[in-house]
Amino acid sequence: MKLTLKIWRQKNSESKGQMVSYEIDNISPDMSFLEMLDVLNARLILEDDDPISFDHDCREGICGSCSLFINGQAHGPDRRITTCQLHMRKFKDGDTIYVEPFRAKAFPVIKDLVIDRSAFDRIQHSGGYISVNTSGNTQDANSIPINKEDADNAFDAATCIGCGACVATCKNSSAMLFVGAKISQYSLLPQGKTEASRRVLNMVNQMDLEGFGNCSNTGACEVECPKGISLDNIARMNRELLKASLKK
């Protein structure tokens, strides 16, 4: 395959950045998108040029680091996948492909396609956990009966990998799908209920402090989420926050 790539290049967080065009040839349709970028980088290194920085780790859709806004969509044109799971066969020979970093004020660019998603970590630190008392008398989790539907919903919410595609794709840069998933994952289970009020208040507060936008229910996040996290998690978070605010 022969392709034209238009890639966002930015030296560092302070510099302005711009789209740069690259022609690339001999790309196998069976390569993953990241492997295609590896091929381009190998060439840039040989040419003594600065290779393109991009995030990646597991390359199997579980770590959430790979990001990228490809041809106007988070993680490219396919559904329910991350960029490392995207294959070149999804494109046609001769295509022009735009590759940009995930954009949001709360996700500043560090270099080229690498962004700082530590805002998500800070939201998690503010309440996305349960304080388990490991005294030795803890009850075996399997012996606590849990309604099947709640267990399924909690498990679905827990599949969020914190990739940030929801924020990147949202016209308001809202992080509510991510935060909704993290809150639901605990609030549905008895282990998470004790701290539910404090959790939702602190996490929503931290989310607002980080400068994410307000959700207007466009639903784009749900469509682009590689794990299919549903908007119901946002509705649940809204209910939880209202409940917690009244209880406080």
Binding site: W8, R103, K171
Partner: protein, 235 residues
Amino acid sequence: MSNNVLVLIFVLQLNIMKNFLLSSIGKKVAMALSAIFLMIFLLQHFLINITSVFSEDIFNMLSHFMGTNFLVQFILQPILIAGVIFHFVMGFVLEIQNRRATKYEYQKTRGGANSTWMSRNMIWSGLVILSFLILHFIDFWIPEMEYKYIDFMPDDPNRYHHELVEKFQDPLKVFFYCFSFILLSLHLLHGFSSSLKSMGTNKAYTSSVKTLGYIYSIGLPAGFCFIAIFHYLTH
């Protein structure tokens, strides 16, 4: 003593609600509540207007009641105006905040791949509706207020129907009226279900909310257009 405790609890509660309302979710809920309130008002407005098509007397009677009842005029009307203003001001505030949160533009976007045009353009449909409302105020509301509270004209329970019919004799007005209602329909196609989602509706109701949303968002504006065109063509 117990009174002081009650006042303290009340102030604390207000403070908590203030924190809630200032949060991103609180603003979203407030926006949704004002939207639901306006949708109920619109339905009531429609139910009265539609009577003008089949019975002059019923329309006059209902309009006269709405126009002279103390509760409607001095309690509900100010609440309605406050609701309209709140919804618009909040809409602009949220739009500005959201634009700040996005700050950087993508070189290439494909919004249509994952969301509807209506959901992405609420501010534009909202602006058309706002300009319509301003005209509507100038056209209907201000003359009505002048008639009743400035000129102190005599109470005439039979004037409403022919006043309404008269307004719809200008084809340009009918056209702009219908155009605004098409935009209102687009606004509602997203707004109806969105407001209920913001209120935290359970997913068990998703499909019924959707169906009800379609019926309301298309049926109601179409009904308003029908009334305007009906009076234009039949008089």
